[in-house]
């Protein structure tokens, strides 16, 4: 069962004259939680952006489940099974918690314009079933008490959770999370760890960018370290933690 859910081959990207990613090779195994760490500016979010279609790489390839997705549009990649959260939370603030999740179910809605305009039985059935599904997802993610509140009114930690819940609503095979523990205290981080463990054991592979070393150690089975656009170390957390280059990158030479 060592199928690779995500494979990145010789990926490079340049912005103007700056090489943001330099010949990056990375593999995420299916069913695992894979950590991506590195100092600020190392290129982690850029890598995520390329994976999810927001940027096109200058060279190299991205494969999802061994099928090429390099250069696909973000919505196509989302439909193929990668869902993401953002470094700066990007919820739909004027919408309710429920609506945020419903939006992510857009593509699985089996209705067309006629159904909507004439409010057919099919429309009503689909709306009802999707709303139930969304509510179940909110229960699963512990947010159902906020169901009709506006997304912006949630406490910070729960907003992060909502972003993850929203991403899960697209039914992904790979969940790509960008610094979910930023600004969280110990308790929140611990809750987050349990939350992500649960999602993972229920079948979703996770690729996570984080600065919280403890969280990475406890959560991930494999860690990749990025610095100045290059991979400087890869392996199990214990090994990576003790790697000299990694320590230097974080603390300075």
């Amino acid at each position: 069962m060592s199928k690779n859910i995500l494979e990145i081959k010789n990926l490079s990207i340049m912005f103007g004259g700056i090489v943001a990613l330099d010949d990056v090779n990375m593999v995420t195994k299916k069913g695992t939680i894979h950590g991506l760490i590195g100092p600020n500016g190392a290129g982690k979010t850029t890598l995520f952006n390329i994976m999810t279609g927001i940027y096109k790489p200058t060279s190299g390839n991205v494969y999802l489940n061994e099928k090429e997705i390099t250069g696909f549009t973000p919505n196509k990649i989302a439909n193929l099974g990668i869902a993401r959260t953002f470094q700066n939370i990007r919820l739909f603030n004027s919408m309710s918690v429920l609506e945020n999740v419903l939006v992510a179910m857009h593509n699985s809605m089996n209705v067309n314009l006629i159904d909507i305009i004439f409010k057919t039985k099919k429309f009503k059935k689909e709306e009802k079933s999707k709303r139930e599904k969304a509510e179940k997802l909110l229960e699963y993610t512990g947010l159902v008490k906020y169901i009709n509140n506006s997304a912006s009114s949630l406490p910070y930690g729960d907003q992060r959770r909502l972003e993850i819940a929203r991403a899960l609503a697209t039914n992904p095979s790979l969940l790509v999370i960008d610094e979910p523990a930023a600004g969280m205290n110990h308790k929140e981080t611990s809750d987050l760890k349990n939350f992500l463990d649960k999602i993972n054991s229920d079948g979703t592979s996770i690729l996570i960018i984080e600065h919280d070393v403890k969280l990475i150690m406890n959560l991930c089975s494999f860690v990749t370290v990025l610095d100045f656009g290059k991979i400087i170390c890869e392996g199990v957390p214990e090994m990576v933690k003790q790697n000299k280059q990694v320590i230097e990158a974080y603390l300075g030479a």
């Binding site: 919505n75 990007r90 919408m95 939006v103 857009h106 709306e127 929203r166 697209t170």
Partner: protein, 350 residues
């Protein structure tokens, strides 16, 4: 037990209220005509046309957040579709049941034509491009009288057919119970029915996956796309639907007025409709209807009292009503944006 009675009770109340509204709407044109005169009924009819326009633009600007400064072009396309297909211009006289869907689709087609290459532009650029498009349409309408006379140029097309149901023309006058019904009344009923239909359609769109996708795109297009929404197609749909509604509104306008000329489709009209949407609170259906009413009726009131008031105070008309209307409009734009940018009537805060 109680839960069985309550819904029934609510239903009864609803039907009761609906009945009252229908009676009120049916009697309204006569009330207006009696209290204020025939010209105000005509103004009311024009207001309803603008309500349709505002509702259409509300889909584009209010729901999807796409800035369109050239919306009147679709109105023009619809209007000229009717004018060309039901007038002496080419001596074609199709019935309104045929032309209405035609104007719907032609305007929608132009919406797709304009939207396809431009909707990926960001806010201000899209605004200017749509403005340019509106002007291009107007210039073409103004000049397509040679080499082939399609639009009859700056003079416009007149003697446009009114709506006909069977052999009954809306321009006929009939007398029922001693009350005279004119085209003002017939068009009123047609327009009210259209407005109600459009409102229902807009509400259904709003509360569907499409409506939510529009709001998501308006809020954060990048996030929306990351959730799997094909933002390009969804935006195009908003644009095309808005255009189609504009086209239908234009067709009715054309038959109501009996003539069209490029002068009715100048930039200020697009701006006016945009302001109706902004004033009403972008996205808020009933607010937009209110915005349309305010922006049509208030200036008409100003126009009718501006001269007499000035004469009684100053003895002479200092500022002609038209200029006064425009100056007040300009001032209103500035003041509303400074003090009440979310519109007079806020969308409910979730």
């Amino acid at each position: 037990m109680i839960s069985k009675i309550l819904p029934f009770h609510k239903k009864l109340k609803f039907i009761h209220g609906l009945f009252l509204v229908i009676i009120a709407l049916t009697l309204l044109p006569f009330v207006i005509e009696e209290s204020f005169g025939r010209s105000w009924l005509r103004i009311f009819d024009y207001t309803l046309i603008y309500v349709l326009l505002a509702l259409g633009l509300n889909i584009v600007v209010g729901f999807a957040g796409l800035l369109d400064l050239g919306y009147i072009a679709f109105f023009a396309v619809g209007a000229y579709s009717w004018a060309i297909l039901a007038s002496p211009q080419f001596d074609i006289h199709l019935s309104f049941l045929v032309i209405l869907p035609i104007s719907f689709f032609i305007a929608g087609f132009f919406g797709v034509l304009l939207g396809a290459p431009t909707l990926r532009l960001r806010g201000d650029y899209l605004a200017i491009v749509t403005l340019g498009f509106g002007e291009i349409i107007r210039i073409f309408l103004n000049n397509l009288d040679h080499p082939v006379n399609v639009t009859n140029g700056p003079v416009g097309i007149n003697m446009i057919d009114p709506v006909m149901i069977g052999t009954f023309s809306f321009n006929n006058k009939i007398v029922i119970f001693g009350i005279q019904l004119t085209n003002l009344h017939f068009y009123y009923y047609l327009l009210v029915i259209c407005v109600i239909l459009v409102i229902i359609i807009c509400q259904r769109l709003e509360n569907s996956s499409i409506g939510r996708a529009w709001v998501a795109i308006r809020e954060d297009e990048v996030a929306a796309e990351a959730m799997g929404i094909n933002t390009r197609n969804v935006k195009l749909l908003a644009f095309a639907m808005g255009a189609s509604f504009g086209g239908v509104s234009g067709a009715i306008f054309s038959s109501f007025q009996g003539f069209v000329s490029p002068e009715s489709f100048i930039l200020i009209e697009s701006i006016m409709v945009l302001c109706m949407v902004v004033l009403g609170g972008m996205g808020h259906i009933y607010g937009v209807v209110l915005g349309a009413f305010i922006l049509v009726i208030l200036p008409e009131i100003i126009r009718s009292v501006a001269a007499p008031i000035q004469e009684s105070i100053f003895g002479v008309v200092l500022i002609d009503p038209e200029s006064l209307r425009m100056i007040l409009f300009g001032l209103a734009l500035i003041l509303v944006m400074l003090y009440r940018p979310t519109g007079l009537w806020n969308k409910k805060n979730v």
